[in-house]
């Protein structure tokens, strides 16, 4: 037998020792449904529509997100706010807001395009559907819940309290 082949035998035993040692290490497995790994800070998951602290929706229905979307997954239909029925502090609000998550590529361009930071990509990654229709996320599913039921939109406000068509980025009240 040549010398390199004799060294191969030595390497085999080294390998066996390595695997034997690894048997006593802690398993790296994460037992998924019970244990969940925290997503990375810049993880981009499912979208959410945000609200201001006073309960008004940040979305002003400008549809810039739909324009920015490279896969045409977003559909926005705006409507006028009135002081009797006020959804957002701006001139308009989104009466329909739909994201087709089967088309969405989670690029985050919608969040970049949004002038009021209304739409953001959350860290939600458990997006399994039993039905294709469940992949259409409507405004009801996307909108963050209100902290207090009194703040539910539409709100009735004093006339003239929201004069701007595009609200300032900070909390408008």
């Amino acid at each position: 037998m040549k010398i390199p082949e004799l060294m191969l035998v030595n390497e085999i035993f080294r390998g066996l020792w390595t695997t034997f040692k690894s048997m006593f290490e802690k398993p790296v497995t994460i037992q998924y449904p019970e244990e969940k790994r925290e997503p990375k800070p810049r993880f981009k998951g499912r979208h959410a529509l945000k609200r201001y602290e006073n309960g008004l929706e940040k979305c002003i229905g400008c549809a810039l997100c739909a324009a920015a979307c490279p896969s045409d997954a977003i559909f926005v239909e705006p409507a006028e706010n009135t002081d009797k029925k006020r959804y957002s502090p701006g001139e308009r609000y989104a009466v329909t807001y739909e994201i087709n998550l089967l088309r969405c590529i989670y690029c985050g361009f919608c969040a970049d395009a949004c002038p009021t930071e209304a739409i953001v990509l959350e860290k939600i990654y458990e997006l399994a559907y039993r039905d294709r229709n469940e992949a259409f996320f409507t405004k009801e599913k996307l909108l963050d819940p209100v902290s207090d039921p009194d703040l539910e939109t539409p709100q009735t406000v004093e006339p003239g309290s929201f004069p701007r068509s595009i609200p300032l980025m900070k909390d408008p009240v």
Partner: protein, 334 residues
């Protein structure tokens, strides 16, 4: 021959076959758990407590798999091949002694099915029949990868059969018998034969790995080159039979290795408590199975020409030298 004796044989055969089938199921579980530990994973732990029902789930899945027969396959041989592969691995068990004898219902029941005086030869002969199943499977599939896999398998098994046969010769010479029982009894009197036959033991283990197509000698089913090797075209229960044959043979060769080299059913207190025999043998089988799994979890597959070179240029001469030295020493000591 009274009918009770026949009944006893039938019961023992059924118990052995059931042991083979349950053993097969739980060897897959054992292997998956052990491999997972080697790779610092956990392994199947969902089906039932500690994943113990995983083999059952796998079995049910295989039963409901679609049975596919290729259009241009030779139907008869295609169906025959898995049966031919699995049968030898079951009938090997006939000569493996599990202990001396126990008394049940006022009868003295020996803990083996048959003590034939050519037990070792029987094992050799039966173990090699399985290669027919593999060759037929490869040929009757009428497909290139199975054919290549089965040709490799034939070449490999024939090459390693020689070293395996010569490794058997050591214990036969030492115990002056081919009966498995007498080989074990001789080991009880003297030492376990792996002490007297270290080279023979190593050759036996290596040859056996090649014989049952286990890594690193799993050439016939080299996934990366041959898809699934000889069982590429098989699915469902027919595939399960090949799978079963491989695992039952793993257990069987572990049992034979334990019997020939590790004292078989012998161990402390086995003379007074004969029911300890099966427990000792089972323990030895489990340890040897762990060895096979450990090697699989460590070593990559050999290159094919290296495998043949190793078999013919190293294993065979080493086995011959081992037999020669053993014979000379025995003659000199007489």
């Amino acid at each position: 021959m009274d009918w009770i004796l026949v009944l006893e044989w039938v019961i023992k055969s059924i118990v052995l076959i059931l042991f083979g089938l349950v053993g097969f199921a739980y060897t897959t579980y054992y292997e998956r758990r052990a491999l997972a530990r080697i790779q610092t994973r956990i392994g199947p732990n969902r089906a039932g407590p500690f994943g113990l029902l995983q083999p059952v789930a796998d079995g049910i899945k295989l039963i409901f798999n679609e049975e596919l027969i290729p259009a241009k396959a030779d139907r008869f041989l295609f169906l025959l091949a898995p049966v031919l592969t699995v049968l030898p691995s079951l009938i090997i068990w006939a000569v493996v002694p599990w202990g001396t004898s126990i008394t049940l219902f006022g009868r003295d029941i020996p803990l083996y099915l048959a003590d034939i005086n050519v037990g070792v030869l029987y094992v050799m002969a039966v173990a090699s029949i399985a290669v027919y199943g593999i060759v037929i499977a490869g040929w009757s599939s009428n497909s290139k990868y199975p054919l290549l896999g089965s040709l490799r398998s034939t070449a490999q098994i024939i090459s390693y059969e020689l070293s395996l046969g010569l490794a058997f010769v050591g214990p036969i010479l030492l115990s002056d018998s081919m009966s498995m029982i007498q080989i074990v009894e001789k080991q009880q009197e003297t030492y376990w034969f792996f002490i007297l036959q270290p080279l023979g033991f190593v050759i036996f283990l290596l040859a056996v790995l090649a014989e049952v197509n286990r890594a690193p000698f799993d050439m016939p089913e080299a996934e990366q080159e041959l898809v699934g090797g000889y069982h590429t075209e098989y699915s469902g229960m027919k595939f399960a039979l090949f799978f079963m044959a491989e695992y039952i043979k793993m257990i069987a060769v572990s049992a034979i290795a334990a019997t020939l080299f590790l004292g078989g059913y012998s161990g402390p207190f086995v003379d007074t408590l004969p029911w300890l025999g099966p427990i000792y043998l089972l323990l030895k089988i489990i340890i040897l199975l762990f060895g096979m799994i450990w090697v699989r979890g460590t070593l990559p597959r050999f290159r094919y020409d290296r495998l043949m070179g190793f078999g013919w240029k190293i294993m065979l001469p080493a086995a011959l030298i081992n037999v020669f030295i053993t014979a000379v020493v025995i003659v000199l000591l007489k």
